[in-house]
C-alpha cells in the first residue's frame, strides 16, 4: 500500500520554458534507464528476495524511485507548460503532440515508448542485484549527459540531486550484492577454520 504525500522529494521551480531539454529529460521518465523502469523493476524484484534486508531495501528504493518519476514528470511539465504550436514545431515535437497533446507520455529521448523489457527481473538475487548496480550507474551517466546539455540552474539543481541519489542507491545495492555473493556462492569463506 502506498500513501501519497503532497510534496516533491526535492523542490522544482523552472522559470524558463525549454522544449529542447524537455525532449531529452523525458528519457528519465520512459527510457531504458529511467525512473519508471527503476521503480517498477525494484518493486517487482522484491517478492523473490531471499531475506528481509533485500525486501526492505527494494521496497524503500523502489518507493523513492516513484518520487523521482514524479520529479522528472514535474520537470517536463514545467518545461513545456503553455508552449505554443510554433515552439512545439521548432523542437520537432509535432509527432508527440499529435499522439499525446501536452500530456506526459513515457518515451525516451528518441520518442521510443516505454517497454516492460526494462523490468529485467530474473528471480535470482545475485543477478537481480547486479542488474540494479548497472541500472544505477547507467542512470547516473544519463543524468551527467543531461547536465552537459543545459546551463539552467533550475534544471541543474534537481538533475544533480537525482544523479547523487543513483550513487547512494548503488552503494546500498552493492552492500547487498556482496552479502548475497558471500552467502550463496562463497559459503566456505564464512566458515571458521
Amino acid at each position: 500500500m502506498w500513501i501519497y504525500d503532497k510534496k516533491l522529494q526535492y523542490p522544482i521551480h523552472i522559470k524558463n520554458k525549454d522544449m529542447r531539454m524537455a525532449k531529452f529529460i523525458i528519457t528519465q521518465f520512459g527510457g531504458a534507464n529511467g525512473e519508471l523502469g527503476a521503480s517498477l523493476r525494484y518493486l517487482t524484484q522484491r517478492y523473490t528476495m531471499p531475506d528481509d534486508k533485500g525486501k526492505a531495501l527494494l521496497t524503500d528504493i523502489g518507493t523513492e524511485e516513484l518520487g523521482h518519476m514524479e520529479m522528472i514528470s514535474t520537470m517536463v511539465y514545467q518545461l513545456t507548460k503553455d508552449a505554443s504550436l510554433d515552439e512545439i514545431k521548432a523542437a520537432g515535437l509535432e509527432s508527440n503532440y499529435t499522439e499525446h497533446g501536452m500530456s506526459l507520455y513515457p518515451v525516451d529521448s528518441n520518442g521510443v515508448p516505454f517497454t516492460v523489457q526494462y523490468f529485467a527481473v530474473t528471480g535470482d538475487p545475485v543477478a537481480d542485484m547486479a542488474e540494479n548496480l548497472s541500472a544505477e550507474q547507467k542512470a547516473r551517466a544519463t543524468y551527467e549527459h543531461l547536465m552537459n546539455l543545459t546551463d539552467d540552474p533550475d534544471l541543474l539543481g534537481p538533475l544533480s540531486f537525482l544523479r547523487q541519489r543513483e550513487i547512494v542507491h548503488y552503494q546500498r545495492f552493492k552492500e547487498l550484492y556482496d552479502e548475497y555473493v558471500k552467502k550463496y556462492y562463497q559459503p566456505d569463506f564464512n566458515q571458521q577454520c
Binding site: I3, Y4, D5, K6, K7, L8, Q9, Y10, P11, I12, H13, I14, K15, K53, A56, L57, D60, I61, E64, E70, S73, T74, Y77, Q78, K81, E144, M147, N148, P153, L156, G157, S160, F161, L162, R163, Q164, R165, I167, V168, H169, Y170, Q171, R172, K174, E175, L176, D178, E179
Partner: protein, 140 residues
C-alpha cells in the same frame, strides 16, 4: 565529450564498498545533505564542480515545506542505510531523531498551509485535500 579523458580532476573514482563499512559513517549536516542529495560523506561523488546548488525558498510556505523535505530526506537516507545495516545503534537513534523532526515539521506545515496527506485533512468546507497547489505546479 569524454570527461574521463578530458578532465581527470573532475571525476573522483568510486571507492570499493568494503572500505566504507565504518560503524559510524561520516554525515553531512541536514541542509547540506539535502542540497547535495547524499547524507554520506564517504560515498559523495561530485561531477565537474556541479552539485552545489543553494536552495532559496521564495515564500514562507516554501520555507516550511523545505523543512519537511529536508528532515524527511535525512530520515530516508538513514532508513536505506539501516536496511543493509540493521544493527547500527547510533544510526537507529539518529533515525528516531530525524523521524521526529520530520513529523514536527509536517505538523507545522499542515497547521499553516493544509494537509500533506489526506488523513490530516480538516473538517473545513470545501475538503482541504482537494485544493492546490499540487506538487508539480510551478510556484513562486
Amino acid at each position: 565529450m569524454n570527461i574521463f579523458q578530458d578532465n581527470q580532476n573532475c571525476f573522483q573514482p568510486f571507492v570499493a564498498a568494503q572500505n566504507l563499512q565504518s560503524i559510524n559513517p561520516k554525515l553531512f549536516d541536514p541542509q547540506e545533505a539535502f542540497m547535495l542529495g547524499n547524507l554520506f560523506k564517504d560515498i559523495y561523488m561530485t561531477y565537474k564542480g556541479f552539485s552545489n546548488y543553494c536552495i532559496q525558498p521564495m515564500s514562507q510556505r516554501e520555507q516550511a515545506l523545505l523543512e519537511v523535505q529536508m528532515y524527511g530526506f535525512v530520515a530516508h537516507e538513514i532508513n536505506l542505510y539501516l536496511d543493509t545495516h540493521p544493527n547500527n545503534k547510533r544510526m537507529i537513534e539518529l533515525y528516531q531523531k530525524y523521524a521526529k523532526k520530520t513529523k514536527e515539521a509536517k505538523e507545522a506545515f499542515e497547521n499553516q498551509y493544509g494537509p500533506l496527506t489526506v488523513l490530516n485533512s480538516s473538517n473545513k468546507i470545501p475538503f482541504e485535500w482537494v485544493q492546490g497547489p499540487w506538487p508539480w505546479e510551478y510556484q513562486n
